[in-house]
């Protein structure tokens, strides 16, 4: 076992925390990017609060997307729901292909500015990877395991909750991971409709031609994405280990 990956992760986390808690300490790094004496560090709000808001937005939308996608994925893999598979697939695919910005434009007249339209766009955008992975995870379970569960006299619910979902969990989590990371980036556009988030920093930079602001917003979002992707990957591997290397 080598320590290098762990050290790299801790360093990235430390950098992120240092930057959002004490941004002023990084003033010399960003000073060369500003012109005409513009501020080098974002000064229209706390970066820490914006980060928390951003993460809250992603967490809430991912949670809703996960619940919806897993419930739908389970439903269409049951005999009773099989005929809904093509329809629900289409809905999830449209959600993914429809640009989130356009979704915002459509949602704002309906629900107003702020968090609501952003949540709608993020949930729809995050559905597909989780939905597809739920289906894939449930479908690739070994036939003999499912037959054994039936043959032992398990009810359908019991089979789903104690056998199918635990065994499909690593694949479902892989979908959640993709979805979360996509939405960490996508959530920045929420700032265009007045949802608090790290998009504010980037937009403020674009509006005032301040490259330092754009870079700060971008770096925080990127570090969040990398660290969270990594952490979810760890959870996923742990789940796979618990699933007993069923497919090794």
């Amino acid at each position: 076992m080598t320590w290098a990956p762990l050290i790299a992760r801790l360093a990235a986390l430390a950098l992120l925390l240092a930057f959002i808690l004490t941004p002023d300490a990084f003033r010399p790094v960003f000073e060369p990017l500003t012109e005409n004496g513009a501020p080098a560090i974002y000064n229209q709000g706390s970066l820490f609060d914006l980060t928390l808001n951003h993460l809250g937005l992603v967490a809430a939308s991912s949670l809703i997307a996960t619940i919806m996608a897993v419930v739908a994925g389970v439903f269409v893999t049951r005999n009773a729901g099989a005929e809904f598979l093509p329809l629900s697939r289409s809905v999830a695919h449209i959600g993914q292909t429809f640009p989130p910005v356009a979704m915002l434009a459509l949602a704002v007249p309906a629900v107003g500015f702020g968090v609501k339209p952003t949540m709608i766009a993020l949930v729809l955008y995050g559905l597909l990877p989780i939905f597809e992975n739920t289906i894939a995870g449930l479908r690739r379970l070994p036939e003999s395991t499912l037959e054994a569960a039936d043959g032992m006299g398990m009810s359908g619910w019991r089979r789903l909750l104690t056998v199918e979902l635990p065994l499909a969990l690593p694949v479902i989590l892989a979908g959640v991971r993709i979805s979360v990371v996509i939405n960490i980036g996508t959530a920045t556009i929420g700032s265009t409709v007045a949802a608090k988030g790290l998009g504010e920093v980037i937009i403020a930079g674009l509006n005032s031609s301040n490259t330092a602001f754009v870079l700060q917003g971008g770096v925080i979002v990127a570090l969040l994405a990398i660290l969270i992707y990594d952490a979810l990957g760890f959870i996923e591997r742990e789940a796979a280990r618990r699933a007993g290397r069923a497919f090794a």
Binding site: T145, E147, G151, G153, P166, R242
Partner: protein, 312 residues
């Protein structure tokens, strides 16, 4: 006792099982043998209602199984499938306890039962209880699969190619173990196999199936001595038949008074083994001993040949 009464199952236009009747007596092993697509697995799955018959009725201990919910019925019937079907995310202990947990046994009783079964199957509970299926050898996985099926003390055990995933040497041993265990527990076994050798070695009676129909239902000796013309005859195989018949007869049955030279053969060995021994030694007869070592006379080549001739 299992009564299969005029049972039919169709899948669309395909008739998997056609108007089939047979009775399995209590405590017996019945082997269902046939080629793939003969309907033997479908028939087996109708006994625990994993598949519903389209016609006819199945009764266990006189009770029509369609009057019992499928899940409740299956908890009372052991089920072993090819490739064991163990739950990969559960320990051996938890796998074996599956049906007792479904039946809401208390934890202490389940733990006791699991331990007893591990002992019965020659797996040290301290070593194996907490292992996961992927940490076991193929033979061990198969034994855990059978232990799981027997956990709630069912009176009927259904087995679908239970030794199919094992290599030949382990398979022969697993077969012998199952036979000894079944005789000890007295559980009624219905076992599906495509291997006639296996059907003969294990079955008290053999049901030969072809294209959904029962071609012959008889003891192994009858099937070998008087196979039904056509399919059964071909399945039994002409060249192998005398040897298979000899493998069913104990040396004791052909022993006669007299002396012979060389190491003795046990009276519980099969005539097939005795014949092979004679051929290797180039002898005409072998001394026979009882299991306690007392001499039981001899077995002569002529006597073995006479028994093999009955097959014709």
């Amino acid at each position: 006792m299992i009564e299969i009464d005029d049972v039919t199952r169709t899948f669309g236009d395909v008739v998997a099982v056609e108007r089939l009747s047979l009775t399995v007596s209590r405590g017996a092993i019945v082997t269902l043998v046939g080629t793939s697509g003969s309907g033997k697995s479908t028939l087996l799955r109708m006994i625990n209602r994993l598949i519903e018959p389209t016609g006819g009725a199945i009764r266990i201990q006189g009770r029509d199984i369609s009057s019992i919910s499928g899940e409740i019925l299956r908890r009372g019937i052991g089920y072993v499938i090819q490739g064991h079907g163990l739950f990969p995310h559960w320990t051996v202990e938890r796998n074996i306890g599956t049906v007792p947990r479904l039946l809401d046994w208390d934890a202490a009783r389940i733990a006791r039962r699991v331990e007893d079964l591990l002992d019965l199957f020659g797996l040290d509970p301290d070593v194996y209880a907490r292992k996961f299926p992927h940490q076991l050898s193929g033979g061990q996985q198969q034994r855990v699969g059978v232990a799981r099926a027997l956990a709630a003390e069912p009176s009927v055990l259904l087995m679908d190619e239970p030794f199919g995933a094992l290599d030949p040497i382990i398979r022969a041993k697993a077969r012998e173990d199952l036979f000894a265990l079944q005789r000890r527990l007295g559980v009624t076994v219905v076992l599906v196999t495509h291997d006639m050798e296996e059907a003969i070695a294990l079955g008290d009676r053999i049901a030969v199936m072809d294209r959904g129909r029962l071609m012959q239902y008889a003891t192994p000796a009858e099937i070998l001595a008087r196979p039904a013309p056509g399919f059964v005859e071909r399945l039994v195989g002409d060249a192998e038949r005398p040897f298979r018949l000899l493998s069913l007869i104990r040396v004791g049955e052909a022993a006669e008074p007299g002396e012979a030279a060389g190491p003795a053969v046990s009276e519980t060995a099969s005539l097939r083994e005795a014949l092979s021994e004679l051929l290797m030694r180039g002898a005409m007869s072998l001394p026979v001993v009882a299991s306690d070592g007392r001499p039981r006379g001899r077995v002569a080549l002529d006597a073995i040949l006479a028994h093999a001739r009955l097959a014709r």
